[in-house]
Amino acid sequence: MNPFKTLPIRYQTRRQALRQMGTGLGMLGLYGVLGDARLLGNPAGPSGAPSLRASGGPLAVRSPQFPARAKRIIHIYLNGGPSQVDTFDPKPALMKWAGKLLPGGNLTTERPLGGALPSPFNFRPYGQSGIEISEIFERTAQHADDLCLIRSMYANTPNHEQSMRLMNCGDERLSRPSYGAWITYGLGTENENLPGYVALCPGLPVADVSNWRSAFLPGIYQGTHINTKKTRPEELIENIRNGRISRLEQRGQLDLLAELNTEHSRARGDDPQLEARIQSFELAFRMQMEATDAFDISREPDSVRTMYGDTVQSRQLLIARRLIERGVRVVQCYHGDVQPWDSHDMIESAHRNLAGQIDRGIGALLTDLKQRGLFEDTLVICGGEFGRTPAVEMPAPGTPGKGKGRDHNHHGFTVWLAGGGVKRGHVYGATDEFGFRAVDKRVHVHDLHATILHLMGLHHEQLTYRYAGRDFRLTDVVGEVISGLLG
């Protein structure tokens, strides 16, 4: 039976609703985005049901199911598949086997492989933890003592589309909601003047919108894609600015609209649906200011902008910080269009170049979060959809490699976490001697998802949604919270 069916939310007047919620104007905004009763009444909603009941709308803040370690997420998505043995998982043994077939042979990946390809980069230990990190991430490495490296990640398939969807939605092919949509569904957002879940990307990653889709969850939970190829804040959000009339004129227009609507609503007994739409105009009016502000990094002091650097990737990280500061729940920063980290060839120049675009920004972001006291309850995730092979990709007809790059590798790769409730200066799990396959304390993408939800205060088995006759969850029927990652 639907526990929310008894909730006569449609039949409350705004005054009644406000009284019941016992709060002032702040909550008015929340009530303003009143969803339909069905949405609120989803029987399989988060088990933090009482808070769901008390709030008004689909994006209103809901309490986690248990105390959360992290309140928000920044996901630095190195899409295309960064090579673990060139970044966060040093494998000196590759040098010994350079050019020779690895003992035990190659695992199956998408394309034919040859002998071992040692990393062209130097690794050295950083910080007190002594975690070894590649020279191409030297600024990130300055924070080694605050990172929690998972060197034993694995996925299912050495293909981009499938693995991107797996990493985001927990399923390779079927239309399932992204974890950002699940979290926004579970927790709402702390600032309803901004979208709850934002995906920043200069262009579109492979598998495009399916990466941040809401699938069967209501569309309001879908990630808002911001194409950061555009730089003017008002270009980033649809209809955020009126180019025809001044703000003052618009205020007058809204006052007229409110006057007409209020009388219309009064004659209809203050139907909450009508009230909600009246309020949505006020929200929209405020959003015009706040949203453009949030995306406008020119408002940052020069010192901060210099610290981040001036690549599109570092601008994204700075926008991400501005967004989470304002209460956005989940921000993903995709490195670039399509699959930039897909270095099938010339791994040395390609990876050096890619890391060069973002290393400074990551270092700055971590410093910035710490300085602002946001690090403790912000979960930073960094990684790709899979890693790359320690063996060279053979040049073959129809393959992009010319013998100096690496193929996709889902058998083992690294993702690192930082902040919000994870261990500091810690390495979890390991790949084999050559970095091919995760062997120690293996962590599947489903486990990562379960752990992310856990850090956000959500049970991955209890955050469910009834669709097509079944209660769905992000981790389907698998996934385990990895306690070894929790600080």
Binding site: L34, R173, I220, S280
Partner: protein, 830 residues
């Protein structure tokens, strides 16, 4: 005697295995119990008298609605005002508002005879082509309609399915022509199979099965999507749950899922779609067809060449396939459900799977060709290596009967040393290849024994045979990329053509031989389970098995679904129609009538409507008439005055969610009705029917109805998402209804609304006005179909003249008009 007993035992075992998946969920105990669920029970027409009350009602429908209300001391609300009823009729049937003149005319006839007035409007609107556009769109939600493919890295017009629109236009036309709904359903599943052949336009109905996602070209997911759309969309049954395991709640087994799988796997999407329009009747049609034909030829030639080359190449590797199948277990290259980049030497996953299944079937000790292999393999390790003479002795000795083994096999094996078990498949492969090579130069000299071996290499009996249509699956990466490019160019030629090319239907065609389905254990095609018949779920056939016949069974499936004895189809359809007119459906989960659904809020009502619907010949327009003529539809929604009445106060307490319908529920217009209304009011609405999709997202001047806007599945426009458009990724049972600031931003800031305000002011009837007051009056009449009230007039003056008393700049008028267009009065239906 003994062999016969063995035979019988084997058969029994086999039968047991076959029935295993059927038994698991649908045991003899559970099926009858499942059949007791209300939705699986046959219809019965409830007697109207039972529901009738003392007060006379206008229709039996009202009697059914009033019965539960009266039992709680409640009743319907009084009738709404004429203008409100008229507006509901308009939006309910055509998705557009009535004009002021319409309202005035209706009011006059209403005053004479309200029933006559309502009937007149219903008939007029049902005959209006706008009706099909409105109702077609409702159906397109169920059909997960989109205009684009979901292939990675295809954007813009490259992603277009150039003929998807023919399905949309079919749906609109079918509703306008009032095609009986059982035929409408039949068309969408099997228009190509219906005898005598249907008119060409109806072939486009098969888009129902073909406009879904492509799932990275994974055929199993495509079929799953078809099963899901058919079962949830038409039957209100979540059959797709049984893909990996028996349905957890409803009596649907995995075997039954794969029974349906077999129906859809027996049909393919042809590369070249059939024409449903005469090219000569289309501007530039014949020239386009020439270009299209040239591109088609190039594609076919590539496939022909690859088919021949790949077939020969695989034949030459028969030994490699046999060795691998016999000596290894499947790895990722075989089990992956995605397209690998193949090099010429890679094993082909599906052929490897086929080889394994082939050996599973043929590697038996009494098989004429594989018997020797099976027998030798059964020997203990210690006997290897086996010398040639020993082999000959082993295979012929110990039997008084003449050997039934293929003599060439025996002879060949007896000429080789078998070092270990892996030598067996290698020897077979070598012999097969020898026999085949010889047949190419000297087939006539081959005896029947050799011919038996050759057939295992070059005919469909063999493990490495594949039909021509599967050629692209086996191509190596460069050839496959070329194939993809050529296939895409067929679509692109059409998508980029300046004039719409002659229409083609997105059909399916049955394979020459239907697919024989087997269970995929845990949903994995690499883990074959028992063979299952192509059949209709038993739960929908009174618990009895229902075979779909010897052919593919698509037509039979259509007949079983669109049947008056199917307990679900008509109920599900009627429930959807009810939802569109009354906001809430009678069954709250319109695509799931299974065990997990709540029972109908008013069961006798649903039964009676369903009975009426079926008896009317599945006549949708008849169903509309019943619903719209009712007092239930015409009752008032809540107002300030009514809220204070004891009746409403009591009703609120007893039924706060209005489940019993004691008032009409107020609703926000959906995306299509909202946008179309603004266009209609501004005079920009263009009433062209059908055709290729148009850009309504970035082209703010486009005046086509929203149903014709491009639905880009890959990148659904923000406008669509903000206004709760149905996701085109899967069959949608109902749209969410949210109120979010993005909607307000659209109303306040978009080019589109600004454009409508501007156009509105340039309409002659508005432009011709001379005073501020007369212009405000004209705007109110146009937008709201009424004159302004005094406070509205005061507010208008204050707003308009706040800057320059006396004269009002045009820009100020536009701001004013835009505010009026954004009011709740425009966007809500009372």
């Amino acid at each position: 005697m003994i062999p016969r007993l063995k035979h019988v035992l084997a058969l029994l075992l086999l039968t047991a295995v076959f029935q295993l998946p059927l038994r698991a969920a649908v045991s003899p105990q559970t099926l009858p119990k499942a059949l007791q669920h209300w939705a699986f029970r046959p219809f019965h027409r409830p007697p109207v008298s039972l529901a009738l009350s003392a007060r006379s009602t206008t229709s039996p429908l009202d009697a059914f609605v009033r019965a539960p209300l009266l039992s709680q001391g409640l009743d319907l609300s009084p009738r709404a005002e004429a203008a409100v009823v008229l507006r509901r009729l308009y939006y309910g049937l055509v998705g557009l508002p009535p004009s002021a003149a319409d309202i005035e005319h209706f009011q006059r006839t209403w005053d004479q005879s309200s029933e006559g007035a309502v009937d007149g409007v219903i008939e007029r609107l049902l005959a209006d082509p706008r009706y099909g556009e409105r109702w077609g769109r409702h159906w397109l939600d169920v059909a997960r309609y989109a205009d684009t493919k979901d292939l990675v890295l295809l954007y813009g017009r490259d992603a277009l399915r150039p003929f998807a629109y023919t399905y949309r236009d079919y749906v609109i036309r079918a509703f306008n022509e009032n095609l009986p709904i059982d035929q409408f359903i039949g068309d969408q599943l099997a228009a190509d199979r219906i005898e005598p052949a249907v008119s060409p336009w109806r072939l486009a109905a098969l888009g129902f099965l073909t406009v879904g996602r492509l799932f990275d070209n994974n055929p199993h997911d495509q079929i799953d999507d078809q099963i899901d759309t058919v079962s949830r969309g038409l039957l209100g049954l979540t059959v797709a749950c049984a893909r990996c395991h028996d349905h957890k709640y409803d009596a649907i087994s995995t075997a039954e899922y794969y029974g349906l799988y077999g129906v859809f796997a027996s049909a393919v999407r042809p590369t070249v779609l059939p024409l449903i329009e005469d090219p000569a009747s289309v501007l530039d049609g014949p020239a386009f067809e020439l270009k299209f034909e040239a591109a088609r030829r190039e594609l076919e030639a590539h496939v022909d060449a690859e088919f021949a080359a790949l077939s020969e190449r695989f034949r030459s590797r028969i030994g490699d396939y046999l060795v691998r199948a016999a000596t290894t277990s499947p790895d990722l290259t075989e089990t992956a459900q995605f397209g690998l980049s193949l090099t010429p030497d890679d094993f082909r996953p599906s052929l490897m799977q086929r080889t394994r299944r082939f050996l599973q079937r043929r590697l038996q000790s009494d098989d004429s060709v594989f018997g020797p292999w099976a027998r030798l393999m059964a020997l203990p390790d210690a006997v290897f290596p086996i010398q040639p003479t020993a082999i000959a002795g082993f295979l012929t000795l110990g039997s008084s009967e003449p050997s039934h083994f293929n003599p060439d096999i025996v002879q060949f094996l007896s000429s080789r040393v078998m070092t270990n078990r892996a030598s067996l498949p290698r020897a077979y492969g070598d012999l097969f290849w020898q026999a085949y090579s010889q047949s190419k130069t000297n087939a006539s000299s081959q005896n029947s024994s050799l011919k038996e071996l050759v057939r295992l290499v070059d005919s469909s009996e063999g493990p490495l045979w594949f039909p021509r249509r599967e050629t692209p699956d086996h191509m190596s990466r460069p050839e496959k990329d070329r194939y993809g490019g050529l296939a895409l160019s067929l679509d692109k030629i059409a998508a980029y053509a300046t004039n719409a090319p002659p229409a083609r239907a997105m059909v399916l065609t049955d394979l020459p031989e239907p697919f024989q389905p087997f269970v995929f254990i845990r949903g994995s095609p690499a883990r074959p389970g028992p063979l299952v018949p192509r059949a209709f779920p038993r739960i929908l056939n009174g618990g009895r098995p229902k075979s779909l016949g010897p052919s593919a069974g698509r037509l039979e499936l259509a007949q079983a679904i669109a049947s008056p004895t199917n307990p679900l189809t008509a109920r599900v359809f009627v429930n959807r129609v009810w939802m569109e007119h009354f906001g809430e459906p009678l069954v709250s989960t319109p695509s799931d009538f299974g065990a997990r659904s709540d029972p109908p809020s008013n069961a006798p009502l649903l039964e009676w409507l369903t009975a009426e619907f079926i008896e009317s010949g599945w006549n949708l327009k008849y169903l509309h008439r019943i619903l719209l003529r009712s007092a239930t539809f015409q009752q008032a929604s809540l107002t300030e005055d009514s809220q204070r009445s004891p009746r409403v106060i009591a009703a609120r307490k007893l039924d706060p969610l209005n489940v019993l319908l004691w008032h009409y529920p107020r609703r926000r217009l959906d995306l299509e009705a909202m946008r179309d209304t603004l266009l209609h009011l501004s005079g920009r609405l263009q009433l062209t029917l059908g055709g290729r999709p148009v850009d309504i997202e970035s082209d703010s001047l486009n005046g086509r109805r929203t149903v014709y806007g491009l639905v880009d599945r890959q990148n659904l426009p923000g406008l669509f998402r903000s206004f709760d458009f149905a996701s085109p990724d899967q069959c949608v049972e109902r749209r969410p209804q949210t109120t979010v600031p993005q909607q307000a931003l659209f109303a306040l800031n978009s080019d589109f609304t600004a454009e409508q305000a501007r156009s509105l002011l340039s309409l002659p009837e508005i432009k011709a006005t001379l005073s501020t007051e007369s212009r405000v009056n004209a705007l109110y009449r146009r937008i709201f179909g009424r004159f302004p009230k005094s406070f509205e007039l005061t507010a208008a003056h204050r707003f308009l003249e706040s800057h320059n008393p006396g004269t009002v700049a045009l820009a100020r008028w536009e701001t004013f008009a835009q505010a009026l267009l954004a009011t709740n009065e425009v966007v809500f239906l009372d």
